[in-house]
Symmetry: C2
Subunit: 315 residues, 2 copies
């Protein structure tokens, strides 16, 4: 094992890059823009250039790194193939082989971003010391990463941890469609967008007073701030969020019985009010042997993906 | 690896025993009663005696078998401890150590019965050639066994695959309690007892004609027979069963994305009418990448546990 590795968290607008020791210490991080034009053909060359430039700056070469771990917002099949990545403009491709080629044979490991976040939190965040956990990323959508016996479950169609699309509400009870085309997916109620949507729908039902009415285009963060200040409507929404997610986690626990659930993503930044609500409902819905499973906030924030990508690389 | 192994499926009323090759060929099977009196203290000595008697009969000795695989109807913790087994009268105990002692140091592996059935079906039944599957056992209750990468997920509290207690109906909508104390568990609607219960409840709602009314204490099997004959009430019940289970499997698929679901237990003996219904609703509820997951009937019937116990033993 060499001393250094690079972790890359490839998103639709920016690429977060981290220079790590292979022990998992993040020495330095930086960002470059994600150029999605022309089918995203610039993205991997840009990453390769950024890796080389950083090494030059440190008077190191490609021979000094164990390799590059790369996470991305798309399905990665068990064999490593990226099965389309709409946000990046990519069709089906072998991102690992392309980046290896661009970096003169350097090892590259590719992993889905939600899975990478889970691995990162297990390695250096809220899941340290655990061998099994489920990470729930509550961002614009809802992602999941499932770890059993220290390893990510990629799934036979690359959809392991695709918990954002668990059916939680009957289709006939949900007029709006999820991004996936179904009606009633977990992400429609528990993502940042979902929470704001629920609040807007609730406010339209009647004229109950709420501080949210004064904010034009409010977000989930505004809803939580209002709830913390005692706003009755906001409290109803955060309670509904917690009930739906607590029940979903009770379902997930009945499948894999993980040691912990780690709650990350933008919504989790509202703090313990989020986990307190989830825990309350989780305990109501969970099988008795599962009631004490840890439900904790993520600790690595936006860096979790980079950590996980490095962990995926070094195994 | 020695040539033979013994598989033992320990149930609350009888012990099914199988003499196997370590290649997984079942050469002979027999049964002994389960003596649950006196805290179940006779059970393991009875099994040990039965193993010795069978070996004597075949002019073999304990040295000729790789060991004994034992499945039982209770929680087996990841370290092998049996965490109570109400049906057997057992408190917390090390069944493996006790049986090893009774059999002069013979290897013993202990596994939960639902997990064992899953492993058996993967090894020699409906899941041959697959590395990941979820077995759903629809019997008196509902059990589950989850296999990823060829291995059972026992769960951090020994409750991996405890899918019978997934919350599928809101507690306030279910007046009767599940055996576990909760209200609205999967097993209340999709076990043999659950199906019959749903039908009885439905018949009490009004006077719709149904052939089931002529049968005093009808079973799930009677409900399926009536459905096959076109009985409208029975068809409503089997449809409700399929909808609840299809949705639950769509939830499970979003967690682990298995290659297949294997449907076993007494209810599955009603044949393809069972899986056809589940598949219909599974496709409605599942995330698009997961819609084509196989949903198939189990093939080993009551022998699956013995097969799985042997597989657990030999690894």
């Amino acid at each position: 094992m060499k001393k250094y590795a690079v972790g890359v968290d490839l998103g639709g607008t920016s690429v977060k890059m981290g220079f790590f020791t292979t022990e998992g210490e993040l020495l330095e991080k930086w960002e470059i823009p994600t150029r999605t034009e022309n089918g995203g053909t610039k993205i991997l060359p840009d990453i390769a250039d950024a890796v080389r430039a950083k090494l030059d700056e440190k008077n190191l070469t490609l021979k000094d790194i164990e390799g590059v771990g790369l996470d991305l917002p798309g399905v990665v099949l068990p064999n490593g193939t990226v099965n389309k990545c709409v946000n990046l403009g990519w069709e089906v491709m072998r991102a690992d082989d392309v980046l290896t080629e661009l970096l003169d044979g350097t090892n590259v490991a590719v992993i889905n971003d939600a899975n990478s976040a889970a691995l990162g939190e297990m390695w250096k965040g809220a899941g340290i010391g655990k061998k099994s956990l489920v990470m729930v990323t509550l961002g614009t959508g809802v992602g999941g990463g499932v770890i059993v016996d220290g390893k990510i479950i990629p799934g036979s169609h690359g959809s392991g941890g695709e918990i954002g699309h668990m059916p939680v509400v009957e289709p006939e009870d949900e007029p709006e469609a999820c991004g996936c085309g179904k009606h009633g997916c977990l992400e429609q109620y528990t993502s940042g967008n979902g929470i704001a949507r629920l609040a807007r729908r609730r406010l339209a039902q009647n004229n109950d007073p709420s501080s949210l009415r004064a904010i034009g285009d409010f977000t989930a963060h505004d809803v939580y701030n209002a709830a913390k200040a005692g706003d009755e409507v906001a409290l109803q929404i955060t309670d509904k969020f917690a009930k739906i997610l607590g029940k979903a986690l009770a379902c997930i626990a009945s499948v894999n019985d993980p040691e912990a659930f780690v709650i990350g993503g933008g919504v989790s930044k509202n703090g313990s009010i989020v986990t307190d609500g989830i825990i309350k409902y989780y305990k109501e819905y969970a099988f008795h042997a599962l009631k004490n499973t840890d439900i904790v906030l993520a600790e690595l924030g936006n860096d979790s993906g980079m950590y996980g990508a490095v962990k995926q690389l070094i195994g």
